[in-house]
């Protein structure tokens, strides 16, 4: 079956199938960016592991940040089925030639930010990722099934953190509100530019990599989140949010994408710190990776000699 017939039949493309170069390149770029986002995303939350306010919260947070390493790993593995190597993708991340999600260039200033990331950022990620479980490329779709299964605990723990804070002391409530105020708009921007200025979307939809448009997904997220905010007892920092009987959706105010542009351009609050942390860890680990490789080479040589 040809590539086009497969797509027309809603079939799955598998690694060794023939596929157009542009399809392969698009997938590599998207999966790599997704993987990079997972591993850079370990940092803002990892920032609170040492300070988590209870041992229960500390355990949950460690498990969550660990999951993100796992998600990055699944995704790099999916990208590798397309003929690239993880080491090369990491190199492209480290040298700034590939991007990661801009949301992780915002700082976690208080414990409530850990809650806001779980509720809003992971919530937005889930809305983005669930359709990817049906992506036309088999290994990516399978990786996303695994990620989504694990991700649902992430959003719940974030909601639980905020719910506890919002119903705690006045200081805790203020902390929660401040976190939501800072993370709301960046979360909406996670869905990408509006459909009328999203040049690659149409091709990705035709290839079955993308199933819904940026604006559709963003609307779905807002519809899901507004009632949850009410239950939390927190307000969303947008005076224009109101239910539209006529459209069957929540209306919301215009998104100012100029800040996102700045963050993507490298001028966000944490861009340099995130890269320095990531590159620093990678370089500090080089002697360890080399040692393990050398050890295995010696073992193999001994086995050869004994044979």
């Amino acid at each position: 079956m040809s590539f086009d017939d497969l797509l027309a039949d809603d079939g799955r493309v598998e690694p060794r199938d023939e596929m157009p170069d542009a399809y392969r390149r698009t997938l590599i770029r998207q999966i790599a960016q997704h993987a990079h986002s997972e591993i850079i995303g370990m940092q803002p939350e990892g920032n609170w592991i040492s300070r988590a306010p209870s041992l229960r919260r500390k355990a949950i947070l460690m498990a969550k940040v660990q999951d993100e390493a796992g998600h990055g790993l699944y995704l790099y593995a999916a990208a590798e089925t397309l003929g690239v190597e993880r080491a090369d993708l990491l190199d492209q991340l480290h040298t700034g030639r590939q991007k990661y999600s801009s949301i992780f260039n915002y700082p976690t200033l208080s414990w409530a930010d850990v809650g806001a990331i779980g509720w809003l950022v992971d919530g937005a990620a889930i809305v983005n990722q669930v359709p990817l479980c049906r992506c036309s490329y088999g290994p990516y779709a399978r990786a996303m099934v695994r990620v989504c299964k694990e991700e649902s605990f992430h959003q719940r723990q974030g909601f639980e953190i905020l719910h506890t804070l919002a119903h705690g002391t006045p200081e805790q409530h203020a902390m929660a509100q401040d976190a939501v105020d800072r993370y709301w708009w960046p979360s909406l921007m996670m869905f990408g530019p509006p459909d009328d200025s999203s040049p690659n979307s149409a091709q990705s939809m035709a290839w079955g990599i993308k199933r819904f448009s940026n604006d559709d997904l963003r609307r779905r997220f807002v519809d899901m989140t507004v009632p949850q905010a009410e239950i939390l007892g927190l307000t969303l920092p947008d005076p224009d949010i109101r239910w539209s009987e006529e459209r069957g959706h929540y209306d919301f105010g215009p998104i100012d994408f100029t800040e996102l542009g700045e963050v993507i351009a490298g001028n966000g609050p944490c861009n340099r710190d995130r890269m320095a942390h990531r590159v620093g860890a990678h370089e500090a680990g080089a002697w360890v990776r080399d040692a393990a490789t050398a050890y295995e080479a010696k073992r193999a040589a001994r086995a050869e000699g004994a044979a």
Binding site: G70, L73, A77, E80, A292, T293
Partner: protein
Amino acid sequence: MSTAWPLWEVFVRSRRGLSHTHVGSLHAPDAELALRNARDVYTRRQEGVSLWVVPSSEIVASDPGERDAFFDPADDKVYRHPTFYDVPEGVEHL
């Protein structure tokens, strides 16, 4: 030096009575660590009772280009399936 660690494919038996199923891959410098990494990466949520790791380079795969020659000839051998046969009404345990 800095050569990347090789890729391994991971297979998990989710419970006794089932066969090992491919769940994904990972990088490891050698077989011992590959097995331990597989435990840490793929069985954190009690997904398994047994693990296999196989160097990805050792997998021999059929060629998608030969798919027709490999798999299409099985299409018309319907007599291999029990539903191909007519059984008179009332016959049991067959």
